[in-house]
């Protein structure tokens, strides 16, 4: 049974990575949000599996929180945002897609190499997943670097959180409950503040292109 569990978790992990790549390649914001929700779903799936197999009950709670937060609330907020701000398209990335893909591949390899020696020590059922989590984090990082509009950057930021969360659950069966709650709270508040910001930026520059935000400089 544990074997199946491991396979399932690995499957979910693969899905996460795939979605991360997809987000990296995605141009349309709406699709980006969908992908994000999907990623959240995969995350919930893996968490539940881990909880079910290992009987770590508090993981159910965190799965629930994750579901509520990352599959329902945040995508909803984001949808409302882009509808209110009516920004549908995000054509240009600072780096063209194929290059990003290549860089992404390199990053994944790098992440795996980093993770291999560590995951040896992992007592948990899903040893390989730490590498995947790290890869997800780095990919989201790359996405944030390469996006030139505010909303995708935010999504990249959230995706990074996903990767972190996945690392927490799969590698260590989740952090202590207090910490998880704290993290969740921070993420939520952060989202709200982000929303406020996006509106402020919008009314200030009537666009969400962060290339307007380059006036403070020292060169």
């Amino acid at each position: 049974m544990g074997g199946y569990g491991t396979q399932i978790v690995n499957l979910f992990a693969a899905t996460l990575l795939l979605i991360a790549f997809a987000m990296l390649a995605q141009r349309r914001i709406v699709a980006l949000i969908h992908l994000f929700a999907l990623q959240g779903l995969a995350l919930v799936g893996s968490t539940v599996t881990v909880a079910w197999v290992t009987g770590q009950h508090h993981l159910y709670y965190s799965a629930a929180i994750t579901f509520a937060l990352k599959v329902v609330i945040l995508p909803y907020i984001l949808h409302r945002l882009i509808r209110r701000l009516n920004v549908k398209w995000d054509i240009e990335t600072l780096l063209n897609i194929p290059t990003m893909m290549l860089v992404g591949i390199v990053l994944v390899v790098f992440a795996f190499n980093l993770a291999i020696p560590i995951s040896e020590f992992s007592t948990s059922m899903a040893r390989g997943t730490l590498g995947i989590a790290l890869a997800c984090v780095l990919l989201s990082f790359l996405m944030m670097i390469t996006r030139s509009k505010a909303v995708p950057q935010v999504i990249g930021f959230l995706a990074m959180e996903n990767g972190l969360f996945f690392a927490a659950t799969s590698a260590t069966y989740g952090m202590p409950m207090v910490v998880e709650l704290g993290i969740a709270l921070d993420v939520l508040v952060g989202m709200v503040i982000l929303g406020v910001f996006l509106f402020q930026i919008r009314e200030q520059f009537d666009s969400l292109d962060i290339r307007h935000l380059e006036s403070l400089r020292d060169d």
Binding site: V179, Q200, L216
Partner: protein
Amino acid sequence: MDVIVLLLAIPLAGGAILWTWGERESAPEVNSAFSLVTLVVACWLTAMVIEGGPILGFYEQFFVDSLNVFLITLTAFVGFTTSLFSRPYMRTERDRGRMTGPRLRLYHSMYQVFTFTMLLALTTNNMGILWVAMEAATLATVLLVSVYRTAASLEAAWKYFILCGVGIAQALFGTILLYFAAERVLGREGNALLWTHLDLVKGELQPAIMSLAFVFLLVGYGTKVGLVPLHNWLPDAHAEGPTPISAVLSGLLLNVALYSIVRCKVLADGALGSHFAGNMMMGFGLLSVVVAAFFLSRQRDIKRMFAYSSIEHMGLMTFAFGMGGPIANFAALLHMTVHSLVKSAIFFAVGHAVQKAGTQVMEDIRGLLKVSPRVGWGLMIGTLAILGMPPFGVFASEFLILTTAMREHAWATPILLLALGVAFAAIFARVQPMVFGDTGHPRLTHQPALTPVFIHLGFAFMLGLWIPPYLAAWYEQAARLLR
């Protein structure tokens, strides 16, 4: 009732209350009152620690030893004096229409919340909660940075938010790795993230994991410390936010972030048994000092300039902590204290100076000694103090740091000294004409609060000439905790 809980409860309650009536005329006084009570409780806590040694509180969730208790007092103290300073400052801002009711409400309540997060980060025993608190600190201040709603302030806040958010995310990954390493030793119970427990078993933690974890933690919290090249948010946030916020950012937030790094370094050193962590910190420190020093000479905005000087001094402390050893740690802690005192004092003076001149551009600020000698002298003396002129405490700590460096890493000393010289030339060349000379600036509508400035400078002066024995003993105790 646990003292620590009380200590945390007060600012939290203050935040809640001020959220409801923070725009009232009396709000600044209430704000100061809360800060004062916090300070009192902090002193009480300090007294307890000095007598009874380290305190564990609330199911081991809180832990106060001689390392963080002095930071707690410092935080409470600077928090209080800053609230005093912000009374006339904010009133003047309101008269000038830059602060409206809602903004004031936000400001006052967030001020208390920020104090709360700082104290939480300092008192908590749980590395996870530490992370949460640091993130919360960002969230509490980010809206204050953009409170003026100008394009520049929005941009600054956005950068602050994104860069620190991303950074802190790295820190979270580090924490996870830490937990991952710890749970194999301490088991799956919640206490696998408790620093006290980690400290006991740090020898058994897995080196390979710990080195990765430390890298993530360093990059994460280092972003908040403002280590080059992760510093880019810092000057913007300092320059664009209201001056009291710049003061607490420089005086408190950076300290606490560095404090978290130091806590992690203790664990990493224990696990790796090598000087890996220390070397990394020294590298960052040196880079920060040098780069910041050369940035200084390009500044036009006064607050921005002093933000860079903060980066420089943070780099110096990081370098000192990186060197390790009782003297260096002692010096670094001393430098931490003096730097927050002096730098916040400078920002107080700068705040009033900027309000007088109505601009932050240094070319347009002139003749402070003429319009209001006290602001002028405050800025002048503060600057000289921060530049490491004796007999101020900054010189004492820099003397210790440099001499230790000469002993252990002689190659680094000339570099540091060069950077300090460049910084001196750059800063003083700009401050002198602001203080001296003639001007036609108007008087302020509200009597500026300069008592905090001179209290801070007075302490700095004392620390340069005479460190009270119990304070010294206390520093040494703390330094010994860090090895």
